[in-house]
Each structure stands twice: as C-alpha cells, then as structure tokens.
C-alpha cells in the first residue's frame, strides 16, 4: 500500500476516533488490514498511534484538572502488567485468531457505545473502605454545566482486576480495546463520564507503551507503516477534535456505530476467509 494512502487512512482513523470521543484510531487496525497489511504489523503500528493520540489529547484535559492522577496511579499498575502479557500473547498466536478477536472487540465496543448515555454523572454510591484508601474521589469544574462536580469512585478492587483484563486487550490489540477501559472507569468505578474518558486516555498511552516495547522486540514495527501512521493520526485527531464542536453528538455517534459494525463484521469474515 502506498505511503500517501496510509497517511490518508491514518487521518481518517484519527478523525473518526476523535469525533466519536473513543480515542482516535479505534478503527485503524481494520482499515489497514482491509488493504492487505499484515494484522500483527497493523496492531504494532496502532500501539504507536495510541501513544501519539493519548499524548495529543490529554494535555487539554490535564490543564482543566479533569483526569484523576490518584485513579490513574492505581489502575496503571494492573493495566500495564496486563498489557505486557497481552502483547506477548499476540506475538505468539495465529493471525486468523487475531481477526476474530479484533472483530469481537469492535462488536463489544459497538454494544458499549450504543448503550452508553452521552454524558453521565453516576448517582453517588457510598465508597467502600478500599476505594476510600486508594483515593478515588475528586472534583472538577464542568465548563458545559458551569459548576463543580464532586465524585467518589467505588469498587476499586474489582476495577483493578478488570483493568488487568482491559490492559491485556489493549496491549494485545492496540487501539482496538480503548472503549473497554472507559467502560471500567464509568461502569465499575462509577466515575463521571468526563473523568472516565480523560483518565482512561491518560492510562492507555502507558499501556500502549508496554505493547510497543514487546512489538519492538518481536521486530513488528514496520517503518513503512509506523511513519505514515505517526504522521496521519495526530492530524486526523486534531481535525476531528476541532470539528467535534460543530458536530451534533447524535450524528457523530451514529457515524461511529455504523463504522464499528461494518468493520467488526469485516474483521470476523476476514478471520473465516484467512482460515480457509
């Protein structure tokens, strides 16, 4: 596939990811493999793309004091270990299995996004003793609502265990499993949507680093893929973030739902075809 073609694909992937709010590049693996790129090299390129996206998207949130560093410090511990194991597994398993796995994760992301309300402030749940000890509480100023939002996360132990699994999948599939880390923050730890999305974005950069290191050792970082992806994804994510303000969130959501469904089905079919 030509260099310029991959740059354009990476711009589209970054754009769709930013508009959807699920982290640029959620679709980069299926887009690359649809054009004949080896799935393991696509996953490795996607891990580097995820570091670039995390590092580009997070500063704006951090300056507004939205991510919770106590939460990220605790969850990274589990996610990073999971990511190392996930990446090592991916290097060892067969390619057709990876298509099924990617397809399943895209479908799971579709379900998560379809059922998730646009923005939530979960009802206050009395935090358990361990969550209080970890310090999952915090406060941020919500500019859209013009008020300070106080929150206290709960279920830290379960959240840590699930983040091991989310790290495993993110390390294994690069950007493919970003939505699941948000689900752990929001659905299990009961953190507000904005804190969940931004803290998750911060964490996945480090999780992707664990994966990228394993792919470097396995010789899966293909310069003719990673160079255009590293150039294109930040551009697409930046454009998407700017246009997001003009987009209706319902339209952005429908675009992503359709994209996830099409690519999920395509990946699973690809798995069947590559097996036969």
């Amino acid at each position: 596939m030509p260099f310029v073609g991959i740059v354009l694909l990476a711009i589209v992937a970054g754009f769709v990811g930013a508009v959807s709010g699920m982290g640029g590049g959620v679709i980069i693996i299926p887009l690359l493999t649809a054009f004949g790129v080896d799935i393991k090299e696509a996953i490795a390129a996607s891990a580097l793309a995820l570091i670039a996206i995390s590092s580009s998207a997070t500063p704006g949130y951090v300056r507004r004091h939205i991510p919770n560093f106590n939460v990220s410090a605790f969850l990274e511990l589990f996610a990073v270990v999971g990511a190392f194991l996930g990446a090592v597994t991916i290097v060892a398993v067969g390619r057709h299995l990876l298509f099924f796995l990617c397809g399943a994760v895209l479908m799971a992301s579709w379900v998560v996004l379809r059922q998730r309300p646009p923005v939530t402030h979960p009802p206050a749940v009395p935090p358990d003793a361990f969550s209080q000890w970890v310090g999952l509480d915090g406060c941020y100023y919500d500019h859209a609502e013009s008020r300070a939002i106080e929150y206290a996360g709960s279920h830290a132990a379960l959240g840590g265990a699930l983040m091991f699994g989310a790290g495993l999948l993110t390390g294994a599939l690069g950007t493919g499993a970003s939505a699941l880390t948000v689900l752990v923050h929001e659905g299990v730890l009961k953190l507000p949507t904005k804190v969940s999305v931004t803290t998750s974005t911060l964490i996945v950069g480090l999780v992707a680093l664990a994966g990228a290191e394993v792919y470097l050792e396995a010789g899966l970082l293909n310069p003719s893929l990673i160079a255009p992806v590293m150039l294109g994804v930040p551009v697409g994510a930046m454009l998407g973030a700017k246009l997001l303000l003009r987009f209706q969130s319902g339209l952005a959501r429908r675009i992503l739902l359709s994209t996830l469904m099409i690519l999920g089905v395509e990946m699973i079919l690809h798995g069947f075809l590559s097996r036969s």
Binding site: F3, E41, L48, I51, A52, S54, S55, S56, T58, P59, G60, V62, R63, H65, F69, N70, S72, A73, F74, E76, L77, V80, V81, F84, W133, V134, G135, L202, G205, L206, A208, L209, A210, A212, E213, V214, L216, E217, A218, G219, L220, L221, N222, P223, S224, I226, A227, P228, M230, L231, P234
Partner: protein, 134 residues
C-alpha cells in the same frame, strides 16, 4: 520564614498539570517533527518515503544507541535514524509522564501509597523500555 512555610508555599505554587501537559505535548510534537523530517530527507535524497527494514531491538536503548547513532555517519541512513529517534521520543513521552508523577507523589504530594503504585509501574516500564531485563 520557616522551612515548613517555605515548603507549603512551594507545594501551593507547584503546577503538576502544566508540567505534564508540557511533557506530553512537547513529546508528541517533537516525535511527529522527527518523522516528518525523516520523510523530508528521504524525499530530498530521492529515497523511498520510509526505510524498508523493520525496527527490531531488545530495548529502546539498544535501538537508539546500538542501531540508531551509528547511522549518523551516512546521509543515506539519516531517514532511518530520524525515524528511530521519532519512535524513541514518542515511546519515552508516557514514560517521562510516569517518572514526573512518581517524583510528584514523592516530593510534593508525599502520598506514600500512590508513590508505591507509580513506583512499581516506573520500575516495570524502566526494565522493559530501557533495559532488556523484562
């Protein structure tokens, strides 16, 4: 001014968020710039837009020092050198963020449990990224 008051003033004025924003934004901009420079040098030297051989090393340190730096001698290898540096800067960006967070929990926030969490992550990341022990 007592030592405790000086420390309280320093803690109050320490802006960790701005420092982390600067590290993340600077890292991704520098890395994108290096990859763009790699592409530009390839174009000027009439080489393919990206080096052909996959990056393969036991650690990031080995990639940069053992494979990258010797490439500086030959202009035809500069695109690969710039790409290696771009990848290294990108990978070191979240690593540096964890390093700074660990120092913050140790020196400013003085939260020993969070220092333990980030410290373990930092040790794992150091072993994996900078050495080949993991």
């Amino acid at each position: 001014m007592t030592r405790d008051v000086r420390r309280a003033l320093w803690v109050a004025s320490f802006d960790m968020e701005s420092l982390i924003s600067l590290i993340l934004q600077g890292g991704v901009l520098l890395s994108t710039g290096l990859v763009a420079a790699s592409f530009a040098v390839s174009w000027m030297l009439r080489l393919p837009p990206a080096p052909s051989e996959n990056l393969h090393a036991r650690s990031l340190t080995a990639l940069v020092i053992l494979q990258g730096l010797p490439l500086a001698e030959s202009p035809a290898s500069w695109p690969r050198l710039l790409l290696i540096l771009g990848v290294a800067v990108l990978m070191l960006t979240p690593y540096t963020r964890v390093l700074v967070t660990t120092l913050y929990f140790a020196a400013v926030h003085r939260s020993w449990k969070h220092l333990a969490f980030t410290g373990i992550v930092l040790i794992l990341a150091t072993l994996a990224v900078l050495t080949d022990w993991l």
